[in-house]
């Protein structure tokens, strides 16, 4: 199969805005799934609510598009009941970290054998660009019109602390790395979080001087720092330039996991 064979052709065109980063992440994920050689009938996609969570609707496998924030417990039920099925979760930063925050940390703690792909666009896309728990300090959104004054969650570090077996962060600029990271997540037993920073020109870019999709892709390229370098700077006591963030593999380990096929 080609990764495009995983798409549900009769549902196109999709609802995403022109220039949205979600399409890139879906392509990377399907590419990784395809490389696993899995049969579509053995693969299930689960999501919550949000632009990102619409992804399963465009994929030919069995899929559950559930309630806002609850994708992980739905997926937990599928996986524990049928550990032989491969279960992949699509979610957004609001879905995963705000309303779904409790399920997220408990999914990690339980180390349930899921691969969670979070499209982090720093805002609530579907409801029109409100601030999310991942909105950077100072960023302007419809609910932070004077600039966000609450510090954001670091989803990747949170997942590591909560017990996930595999955690990576990349962006929609890093297509190869992102695809490889998803594939590693799929191969790793236990909970995998792949955080993908994506551009949302409609909700985020427009208000933060990154009006065109390309502007934000360039911004991501210029502000993503490889984790190795990031940690070296920490060791040296070198401050990180404003707006930069680490990308790479945060953890890969083999803690006891739930829902792993025997």
């Amino acid at each position: 199969m080609n990764y495009q064979d995983w798409l549900r052709a009769d549902r196109l065109p999709h609802i995403y805005c022109a220039g949205c980063g979600n399409g890139t992440v879906i392509n990377c994920t399907l590419n990784a799934v395809n490389q696993m050689g899995w049969a579509p009938e053995d693969t299930v996609f689960v999501s919550g609510i949000g632009c990102s969570s619409r992804a399963p609707g465009y994929i030919i496998t069995d899929s559950l598009h559930t309630t806002h924030g609850r994708a992980i417990p739905f997926a937990t039920g599928v996986k524990l009941s049928r550990p032989d099925l491969h279960v992949v979760v699509f979610t957004g930063d609001g879905d995963l970290a705000a309303i779904g925050g409790n399920h997220f940390i408990h999914g990690c703690r339980r180390n349930i054998d899921l691969t969670v792909v979070c499209m982090n666009n720093y805002i609530y896309g579907m409801t029109g660009g409100q601030g999310s728990p991942c909105t950077p300090l100072g960023a302007v959104t419809t609910t932070t019109p004077y600039g966000c004054h609450e510090p954001p969650f670091d989803l990747a570090s949170l997942a590591v602390a909560a017990g996930a077996n595999y955690v990576s962060r990349w962006t929609s600029y890093h297509v190869q790395e992102l695809t490889r990271a998803v594939k590693t997540g799929l191969e790793t037993p236990g909970f995998s979080l792949i955080e993908a920073v994506v551009q949302c020109p409609t909700g985020y870019g427009r208000k933060n001087k990154l009006r065109e999709a390309q502007d934000m892709i360039v911004w991501m390229r210029d502000h993503a720092v490889l984790l190795k370098k990031w940690r070296r700077m920490d060791d040296e006591g070198t401050p990180h330039p404003a707006g930069t963030f680490p990308v790479g593999e945060f953890v890969r380990r083999n803690l006891p996991a739930a829902g792993v096929p025997k």
Partner: protein
């Protein structure tokens, strides 16, 4: 062959579920339902099932719905506060036609109220608690025996109609211990699989589509959004929404007579008690003590859909008396279906109606 056992109501509920083939339990502890989870935790691993203690009730019902989509019979149990937390996902189960069983061992509310005292205060929440127009099925046991039997029945109803089915128990029934007859096996009406080549949400003959379980190559997309017969979102076309929601409601309401389960005592009575759950026991005692054919009893085992036609069985009724552990929830429902006066007989705080009180009331109308 049956075997006699002395059992607690909650244990009987768990055992009835297991006998009916329940193999997935996801839950969160709350009084007075917790013994169900504890019993499932002991039993499930031994019979190849799954017990998972989730982080809260939203997660519990979510896990149950996820498990159900793999074809498993799945259940959760809770009480008032947890029941409220489940409401959004219960609506999801209705919209996606996911069979599942939800046990609500009712305690005194609102809020955390009376954790260890009995109530029937969630009858309307069960029916209308989730948003949107919908119909569900609910049973209400009046004995430990019925905790076993009606829980098993709830699985069959859930699978038959592809709808969440509720066991609306109360603390009295859940915590009492009685001798029960445990049968060797219970009737199992399996979920009908979707015929290959048919659309996963097309109404079919009886408005209940076959079930396309995950992992069988159906490639079904399940969404809580308004969807067409293929399961694809179609949330702005008024006709698609109306057709879907009318079918979801109609498949349950239209089968009311088929689903109904009730007992009639003294159909020629003039004064008729309507009851369900624990108060049925006081009514039964009152009827025995009165020994007067002018006093009758309609005892509901299935409470939703409400068997409105059953009221008409009492042709000489002059008044319906409805003893409930709430301020008149089902009495109001009964009143919608009859011109005969309906009088709520409320008892809240955790005590059951005494037979003496019911006798005095009935005599007042004779």
């Amino acid at each position: 062959m049956t075997r006699l056992e002395f059992m607690q109501g909650n244990t009987a509920c768990a055992e009835g579920a297991i006998a009916a083939g329940c193999r997935f339990y996801g839950g969160y502890p709350i009084t007075p339902s917790t013994e169900i989870a504890e019993h499932m935790a002991r039993k499930m691993p031994k019979i190849g099932g799954v017990f998972v203690q989730m982080e809260d009730e939203l997660a519990s019902i979510a896990s149950v719905i996820g498990a159900s989509w793999t074809g498993a019979r799945a259940m959760t149990a809770t009480s008032g506060p947890g029941f409220s937390l489940m409401m959004e996902n219960i609506g999801y189960a209705v919209m996606t036609e996911t069979p599942c069983v939800i046990v609500d061992v009712q305690r005194g509310g609102p809020s955390t109220g009376q954790p260890t005292r009995a109530s029937q205060g969630d009858m309307m929440q069960c029916r209308f608690g989730s948003h949107g127009d919908m119909s569900i099925i609910a049973v209400s046991p009046a004995s430990v025996q019925e905790m076993y039997e009606l829980t098993a029945k709830a699985f069959n109803l859930a699978d038959r109609y592809r709808v969440p089915a509720f066991v609306m128990a109360d603390e009295i029934i859940a915590h009492m211990r009685e001798r029960i007859e445990v049968p060797d096996s219970v009737e199992i009406v399996p979920r009908r699989p979707l015929e290959k080549g048919t659309l996963p949400f097309a109404p079919g003959e009886d408005d209940v589509p076959g079930f396309p379980a995950f992992g069988h190559g159906y490639g079904v997309h399940v969404t809580g959004l308004t969807h067409d017969d293929r399961g694809y979102p179609s949330s702005t076309d008024p006709r698609v929404h109306e057709r879907l929601v009318r079918r979801l409601v109609g498949k349950v309401e239209g089968a009311n007579r088929e689903i109904a389960d009730y007992e009639v005592t003294n159909p020629d009575a003039e004064v008729v008690f309507i009851s369900y759950g624990a108060p049925s026991r006081s009514v039964a005692q009152a009827i025995r003590d009165l020994d007067d054919e002018r006093v009758g009893h309609l005892r509901l085992k299935v409470v939703w859909p409400f068997p409105d036609f059953a009221l008409a069985a009492f042709k000489s009724a002059r008044v319906f008396l409805v003893p409930e552990l709430n301020l008149g929830q089902m009495a109001r429902e009964a009143a919608r279906h009859t011109a005969v006066p309906v009088v709520p007989v409320s008892e809240i705080g955790g005590e059951l109606h005494t037979p003496q009180r019911l006798i005095a009331m009935a005599e007042g109308y004779l």
